[in-house]
Structures are given as structure tokens and as C-alpha cells.
Subunit: 464 residues, 2 copies
């Protein structure tokens, strides 16, 4: 692509056209840090109109365009194509409006998630979606990935918070539907098609997000159970007895818990919140706004399950610092796994009823192929989403991640699950997309891609 001749500087201004060494590392990598992207140019548009003009030009020339945001993705979806355009939305970072009467926020794609959180809270309202990368992840990427996180159980994934959406299609067409409606059955819901399409169908430029009442109480505990079945029974009981307030149910298999708390004690001097030795450990959190009733309800709910025997041990946070300690078990799990690096990690989903089979089968199949393999399981059990960390432990050999992928995804496929629950496909999982999507589903996806991006310029090589 000939940078000088095509008027890119005329569109975004010379200062917002980066080439060569001016393209910093921030534009060349993502959370994976596995590869280095080599775009011909980084463009930093300031408006939807500028995005549209860039795409018109790229469409005409057949130049690949990859929208990039906070670069916190886990699957390589925002790694620009060699010789292509990296379209950074970072300058489109404004919160255009917060409308507390309608409980909506209109925001540009480059706004950082945490900035949106804080802006909402300053108005006394709540944007529920939260994830570890909140300080860097940008709204456009969160939408493009359909991100999940720790509160999906109650408030859903990102798609459940997007009321209105503006995207620029491959040919530069601006499709804008920035309504504030929870319900809109006028024609096809193209919004949901674009959400989670990882920048391959359009570039998200703006969105209207749904807000919720800001919770003013929260109750947090870590509880131990002996069997997986008991754990899921507990999930159902708490979901009922907390009457819809249950917002997190984050599960760690017993050996995973043990490894993490041992390492946190050793390296962070953090006390072990609940005695080791049980089958399963779950961080449970409820949120609400009934100061008189919420704490008592939470204690009643846990007490009933302790008495009934589903819960065998529990620690309830009585202060904000205790809450942080309990969440630390889940949020800082990496402390427990650093000395297992490099390892394979997974983000899969399935019916909760088959999760124990999944873990058992993965371990069996791993043991056959890699006699020393270790594997750890945890995740958003309330949403049917598990994460796994696997190291085949073959000292001296390079990590055979493909072999491990085949084992894990083979079991997922047999059990009717998905190889990508919340992180997406990107380039990392692309070869396995057809393991949990049928040929006919892929035909449909390709037909849609072809209809909306016939020249294939939008984020080529990702997803499909």
C-alpha cells in the first residue's frame, strides 16, 4: 500500500498516520504476546466519518483493515495484517451522553471500559460488565469480542448491554442505530450479528449501553463443597434463595484452589481464606440495594445450605479488605501458575451437567498422551463456562499446544460444548472452529461475510 499517494493524511491528519518505527509496540501485539503484527500504517481517526472514508479507500484498493482498541484480546483477533491498516479507535474515546432517566450511556468505541464504569457511577448508575482488563480494554473491542467476565450470571454478556450500535461496513457505509430501546423488533437484528464478530463484519464506532441501578450492598463469601453435583445444586439454590441477586459464582476445582492459595501465601503473604482439602471452592457474590434486608438474606441463604450439608465450609467477607482477599483467590490466580509457564489455556463452555465428565475425560486423555501432564480447572461455572490450564510437562521439549488443543477440544466436541465461550476465535482458535460449529453453520457465516464484505478486507484471517 502506497501511503503517500492515497490521501490518508488528508483524512485523519498527518499526526495520526503512523508508519515505520513510529508504530509502537502497543499497536503490534495483544495480550497473547505471541506474535508481532506488521501493519503498513496505523491510523487514528477522530470520527465515524473519518473511519468511513478510510474504509472506502481500503475497499477500493483491497487493503486489509483491522480495528484495534486496548489490545487486551486473548485470541489474536486484533493483530493487524502484514501490510494492512491498523485502525486504532483510541481518539474516539468520548462518553457522549449519560441519560439516567432512560438508563443509557452513549459512548464512542475508543472509550476505556473503566472510564465508562466510573462515569456511570458518578451519575449514580451502573454498567455491570466487568473484566480484568477493564483499565485498558476499549468499548469497541469489548463489543467486537462480546466479552463476558464475572457478572454474566446476573447481567449477561456485552451483547446484553448494547441497545444501540453504530458500525462502519467494509465499503465505508455507516450503519447507525443509536436508539435507546430495550425492545426493537423492526426488521433483522443486525446488531447481534455484528457483536462478537471480532471486527470481520464491520468497525464499531459508537454504542448506546444499557445501565442498571447502582448496587449499594454486596455480600461476598467463599464456600467449599465436596462434589460437583453439590456445587451445581448450591448454585441453583442460591440463585433461588437470593432471588435474582446472585451476581457471581466463580468455581475452582479443589486442586486448583490449593495450588493458588499456597502460592499466594508464599509469594504475597496472603492468608488462606478457607481450609484446603475439599472438593470444590466457589467465590459467591450477591449485590443489591436493600440495606435492611440484603445482608441478612445472604447469611440466611448460606446458613441454610451449611445446615443442609451442601456447603461444608464457608468464609464470609465482613469488610472491604476481606472481600478483596476472597476475590484475590480468583482474580490473581496467575500467581499459582507462573512456574507452569508456558502452558495451554482454554475458555470453553458446555452444559453444566456434563462438566465433571469433561474434566475426567480431559485428564484421562491427557494422561494417555502425556504421562506427566498437569491440568487445573476453574471458571464461571454459573454460566457454563470453564477455563483450563494444561501443561503436558515434557521437560526439554517445546510445548505441543496443538496436541493438547486436540485433546481438550475433542472432549468439548463430544459433549456438545463450545471451544470459545467468551474469548472468541481470532487466529488462535480458527483451525478448531469447525470442531463445535457444523459445516452448515460455517456456510452460513461465510455467506454473511461474503454479503457484507465481498472483498474480504475486514480483519482477514480472523474467525473464518
Amino acid at each position: 500500500m502506497d501511503i503517500s499517494s492515497n490521501g490518508l493524511a488528508e483524512i485523519v491528519g498527518a499526526a495520526n498516520v503512523l508508519i515505520g518505527d513510529d508504530i509502537g509496540d502497543r499497536y503490534r501485539s495483544d495480550f497473547l504476546k505471541k506474535h508481532v503484527a506488521a501493519p503498513a500504517v496505523v491510523l487514528r481517526p477522530a470520527s465515524t466519518q473519518e473511519v468511513s472514508e478510510i474504509l472506502k479507500l481500503a475497499h477500493r484498493e483491497g487493503t486489509p483493515v483491522t480495528a484495534i482498541g486496548g489490545q487486551t484480546g486473548m485470541c489474536g483477533a486484533a493483530m493487524a495484517s502484514p501490510g494492512g491498516i491498523a485502525l486504532s479507535l483510541e481518539r474516539m474515546n468520548r462518553i457522549e451522553e449519560i441519560d439516567p432517566a432512560s438508563m443509557t450511556m452513549t459512548v464512542q468505541a475508543g472509550c476505556v471500559l473503566q472510564v465508562a464504569h466510573e462515569a456511570a457511577e458518578a451519575e449514580g448508575v451502573f454498567l455491570p460488565l466487568d473484566l480484568g482488563a477493564r483499565g485498558s480494554a476499549m468499548i469497541g473491542g469489548v463489543i467486537g469480542t462480546n466479552a463476558g467476565g464475572n457478572r454474566v450470571l446476573r447481567w449477561g454478556m456485552m451483547r446484553d448491554m448494547v441497545l444501540g450500535l453504530e458500525v462502519v461496513l467494509a465499503d465505508g457505509r455507516i450503519v447507525s442505530s443509536l436508539g435507546k430501546m430495550i425492545k426493537d423488533n423492526a426488521g433483522y437484528n443486525w446488531k447481534h450479528l455484528l457483536i462478537g464478530s471480532e471486527g470481520t463484519l464491520g468497525v464499531v464506532t459508537r454504542a448506546v449501553l444499557r445501565l442498571r441501578p447502582l448496587p449499594t450492598t454486596h455480600q461476598t463469601a467463599i464456600v467449599a463443597t465436596e462434589s460437583f453435583e453439590d456445587t451445581i445444586r448450591l448454585l441453583r439454590k442460591l440463585d433461588a434463595s437470593l432471588s435474582g441477586r446472585l451476581s457471581s459464582f466463580e468455581l475452582l476445582w479443589g486442586d486448583c484452589y490449593e495450588r493458588v492459595v499456597d502460592a499466594q501465601l508464599d509469594q504475597l503473604k496472603r492468608p488462606v481464606p478457607l481450609a484446603k482439602g475439599h472438593g470444590f471452592y466457589t467465590v459467591v457474590e450477591a449485590m443489591g440495594s436493600d440495606k435492611e434486608g440484603d445482608d441478612a438474606q445472604f447469611e440466611r441463604a448460606l446458613a441454610a445450605e451449611l445446615e443442609g450439608g451442601l456447603i461444608v465450609d464457608a468464609a464470609v467477607a465482613n469488610s472491604e479488605s476481606q472481600r478483596a482477599t476472597l476475590w484475590g483467590v480468583r482474580d490473581e490466580m496467575h500467581v499459582g501458575f507462573m512456574n507452569l509457564m508456558p502452558f495451554c489455556n482454554y475458555d470453553v463452555s458446555m452444559a453444566q451437567s456434563v462438566m465433571p465428565t469433561f474434566v475426567a475425560r480431559v485428564r484421562e486423555d491427557l494422561a494417555q498422551r502425556f504421562p506427566n501432564a498437569v491440568s487445573y480447572f476453574y471458571g464461571h461455572a454459573g454460566d457454563g463456562n470453564l477455563h483450563a490450564i494444561v501443561n503436558p510437562l515434557e521437560p526439554g521439549k517445546p510445548l505441543d499446544s496443538i496436541a493438547v488443543d486436540r485433546i481438550v477440544f475433542g472432549v468439548v466436541r463430544e459433549l456438545g460444548g463450545s471451544i470459545a465461550a467468551e474469548h472468541g476465535i481470532g487466529t488462535l482458535r480458527r483451525e478448531f472452529l469447525d470442531w463445535t460449529r457444523s459445516e452448515d453453520e460455517l456456510w452460513m457465516m461465510r455467506a454473511i461475510k461474503q454479503a457484507l464484505d465481498p472483498r474480504g478486507i475486514l480483519n482477514p484471517g480472523k474467525v473464518l
Copy 2:
């Protein structure tokens, strides 16, 4: 279409091919009762495979196919094309599985909604979506319409309950993704594109639905407020103080309430539940499973707003029969409007902040064109969804519904709303689709339709 030669009887069996006078009224009309459909044939397949073979044949011959279910639609979307195939899913009515451990139900498209409700309850679980037509509406139609109802505020629309979906595309291709996952970011979410597409992109044959804990408590009240702003403030406060348990917030403007309760007193001898004369009346319902806490929480929440002055009058149901009486105001509103028939009615949505402007502007514009016009407003205010009933009151003249449509939809358009919140487009609203969808949105919808149904055989003349 030549019925004899094309082997339809071979596909579904002779008994399931209806022609001529054997095509009963049930297959010729919908809730509107405005038109009589004249399909060449009604086919009643027993399996997805049979649906696929019918579509392959229709695709080859270019014959229109309209999937029909309980025929409770409000927009003509399930009225078969003249000379086409009416594909009735009524024989595919089985509940294939209820998996309480995973909280899912796998169901065929022809299953009646109420049957699904009852089957779930028998297993101690809950399918939240509910609507007046529950006794006839079939799951396939509920999905095709993306139906709403009285509990969207808490549990969402039908799309929010569909975990897995199986459809047959125009060319007979079976696209089946009957997973039980809440989270699946592996590729494009075609499921959401199909949901609400009113049978124009595919025929729904089966679905996996998400279930919830069965609520064991409910609290119901009707409350009066003086201004719309107070009403929305109340909505936010109850949504917070009931901590996510608020499941219905059904609003009637004061004059609408008055007309309905007067008629119900007169014709049904039903007592007026709350004194007339206030600005707004809302049926509020919360559900939960905390027998010890829920009632007290509800009373505390209402008491606080009575004391604070947001609520000016309230009646709380103390028995199941009182609950039925309160809901009767909303569920049997037709009693109040029978002597206004024929009238125009609307299903629109918009930001809650502009609703008072909407009502005022519609009334102004109506008055200019129709000096005697009457209009009544009510709806799912918690979801931003209003219904309106308008009669221009021009005695001796035929109902000029197009003129009224233009007034109502003109205001909706100006206020950034949608002309179809939950009932869909069908044929009834098709001419107005571009009033709240841009040319570029329509381009995208047509591009998708063309990609998936190039011969245009699926429910032609609907939506687009």
C-alpha cells in the same frame, strides 16, 4: 404449484397434505383477522428432515413457503402467500428433554408455550417468557417473532431464553446448533439473526431454552403516581430496592385506567382496585424464592415510596384472587375498548425519557387532523415499550388507519424510537419499516436475505 406431481405426499404422508376445502380457517388467518390467506397447500411435517425435503423442493420450484404456528401474531407475518405452501409445525410439538441440572429444555417448534410452561413447572423449574396468547402460541412462532410480554424487565425477550437453535434454510439446509451454552463466542451469532426474522430467513424447527429457578413467592400491587417523571423515578427506585426481583412494571395512563376499570365494573362487576383520578397507574410485581424476606421487602419498598410521596395511592394483593383482580386491569383491557372498535393500535418503543413528549405530540398531531380523536396509552413502561389505541372518531367514514399510522410513527421517528417493539413487522408495518430503520440498515438486511434465501421463497412480502 402442481400438488400431485411433486411428491409432497411422499414427504409428509397424504394425511398431512391439505388442499382446497380441507384447509381450515385456522390455517388462513391470524390474530388480526384482517385477511384470508389462500395457500395452495398446507403441509404438516413430523420432523426436521421432512421440513428440509419440503424446502428443497420449494427452492427448486421457487414456491413460497410460510411457516405457521399458533397463528396468534399481530402483524400478518404468518399469513401464507397465495398459491404457496403453509408449513404448519403443529405435529412437531414434543418437549424432547428437560435437563434441570443444566436448567435447559429442548423443545420442538410446534410445542405450545403453555405446554412448555407446565412441563417446566412439573420439574420445578421456570420458563419466564409469558404472554396472553400462551394457550395457542407455539415456540417456533414465539422465536420467529422474538416475543416479549409482561416479564421482559427481569428476564428479557424470547431471544434471551434461546440457548440453542435449529433452523432449516431456504435451500433445505439444516443448521442445527442445539447446545446448552449460555456463552458461545465461536463465530458469528447467526442464532440472534434468525430470532425475530419472522420466518423470512429460515424455519425454526427446534430450540434449547434457558430455564430459571421457579419463583415461589410473588408480590403484586397497583400503585398510583401523579406524573410520568415520578413513575419512572419509582421504576428505578423499585428496581433497586427490590434488588433485581422486580419482574413487571405495567403502566396505564390515568384516562386509560379509568376507561378500563369503569368498563370492567360495568360489564364484569369487577370492583375498582384503586380510586380513579390520579395521573398514572402501574401494576407492579416482584417474584422471588425467599419466603422469609420477600413479602417484607416488597412492603418496605412500597412504604418508603408512599412516605416519600412518589406513590400517592396503592393496593397490595393479599391473596391469589386479589392478584388476579389487579392483573385483570391490565390483562383484560379489551373490555374497555370494545365499543371503540375498529381502532388503530400500536406497539412502539423509545427512551423512557421521551415518553411524555411522545404522548403529548401524538395527541396534538391527532387533534389537528382528527378533531374528535381519542387515544389511550399503556404498556411495558419498564422496557420502554408503549402500546396505544387510537380512534379518529369520524362517524360514517372508514377507519383511516394509514393517516393515524403516519401521525404516530412520525412522532416515534422524530424521537428516535422504533415502530415495532415486540409484535414485529409482518405485512402490517412493512410500509413503515424505513421510518425507524435507515436506508443503510435496510441495505444490510436485504444483503443478508439475498445471501441466505436468493430465490426469495421464505415468507415473501413480510418484513422487507
